[in-house]
Symmetry: C2
Subunit: 260 residues, 2 copies
């Protein structure tokens, strides 16, 4: 709330006498969320990871990832951070509403990165996108999950796999193939809970490196993807597509392996 | 802000004299966003569509779709709606940070649907997911864009195509193939601006049908996808994947057309 609003409110209270009931009426209707990026204050990575893991079991992957960072900031910094309902990100469960498109943990973590590093303005926006692109490459290339919770809900060894795609169903299927577990097994849930913590941790690292002015891309697009983009992406002779997803997983498997 | 907080604040102001500067210190740090779903009040579809279209040119697809509904609600209902920074959804531009994964317009529209219909609680959550799944099927199956702005930024006829996928790059490539335009042409931007309005409009329709207790799924999964899910999804003999994306676009094209 701005100073002038407080003045308005107190003035109104005095004017109408016993004016407490007027508080709602005179509240500055125009009070708004501060513009992005929101100031970041150092969070404890261990607590964030644990909160992400437990958040997965409460509100699924996307909520777990987003709430672990933003919810922790809410606890530390209070209002107005607390006015952002982290519950909104429950929508991203299982690749958005269980559709299994974009991995929810990746989605929630990306949104959290943007809150603390992004904004409408072109330069700010693009700097934040570079962080998020690194997060996507991390997700595609790293063998996950790495995180091991203190008190696992499912206390078995969870093997790792590299998703090679940001998509929920691809990531799940690849993990199922590596481990032999089924897609709706409790072990797969546990894997996704731990992976939610991995995404939150890496997002936090990105936010902190950005705030410190020390961000350097750690996960690069493969030479193969770069080659695809030369023709198909911006400025290419075809320019009939776009993006930075790993092309190989969908376009170069099985009988499609030979490029025309 | 709650009554007791106003009392606290005014008390503190009196105590310390000229205490306007104390307003932040005494503000209730525990003030929180209301739980989901947030009450919906009838919005004007024409205004929402126009706002989505213009929002696309301001903060891209995901922002345009989310802000068209939530920003309109902010204008109508004020605080605390105004405390949710719609700018956050700029992160979803071009399939999230230009990665071209999940279409940003679909993503932003899905989040808006959840804000007014969803929540943490299992039953609420799943009812909202059913709406979002319908939104995904609409996106995949309908020939878009349908929306024609009053004052188009690019004033040419924009042909329609069915994306058959919720993914940004697939949607763009299919449209490029149908129209012959390049992926980074101003016509393609215009197409995505109009499609942003389409997604916002359908999301609004879903919210309103839900609020009126009259939602009925309008876009169904194809028989083909249902067949895939019989073996690969929950309870299937393989159960090695999950989801409701249209399988055919990636799995049954070209030489992979023959299922093993």
């Amino acid at each position: 709330m701005k100073r002038r609003d407080v003045i308005k409110m107190m003035g109104a209270s005095l004017l109408i006498g016993g004016g407490l009931f007027a508080s709602k009426a005179v509240r500055a209707k125009e009070e708004k969320a501060p513009p992005l990026p929101w100031p970041y204050k150092k969070l404890d990575p261990e607590k964030v990871a644990e909160r992400a893991y437990l958040g997965y079991y409460k509100g699924a992957c996307c909520y777990g990832a987003f709430d672990s960072i933003v919810g922790s900031a809410q606890e530390l910094l209070g209002y107005p951070y607390t006015m952002l309902p982290t519950e909104l990100f429950v929508f991203g469960q299982g690749g958005v509403a269980d559709v299994a498109s974009l991995c929810g943990a990746l989605l929630g973590a990306a949104a959290a990165v943007f809150l603390f590093t992004g904004g409408l303005e072109k330069e700010t926006r693009e700097k934040s996108y570079a962080l998020i692109q690194d997060l996507f490459n991390f997700y595609e290339q790293e063998a996950l999950p790495k995180y091991v919770p203190k008190n696992p809900k499912v206390n078995v060894e969870i093997k790792r796999s590299a998703a090679r795609s940001p998509l929920c169903h691809v990531s799940v299927t690849r993990w199922c193939k590596v481990t032999g577990y089924k897609a709706f097994s409790k072990e797969r849930s546990e894997r996704c809970g731990r992976l939610t913590a991995d995404c939150a941790l890496y997002a936090l690292k990105l936010i902190e490196s950005h705030v410190a002015g020390q961000f350097k891309q750690a996960y690069l697009l493969s030479a193969e993807v770069k080659r695809c983009r030369t023709c198909h992406d911006k400025g290419g002779t075809l320019e009939d597509s776009r993006g930075m997803m790993d092309c190989s997983m969908c376009h170069f498997t099985g009988k499609k392996a030979k490029h025309p």
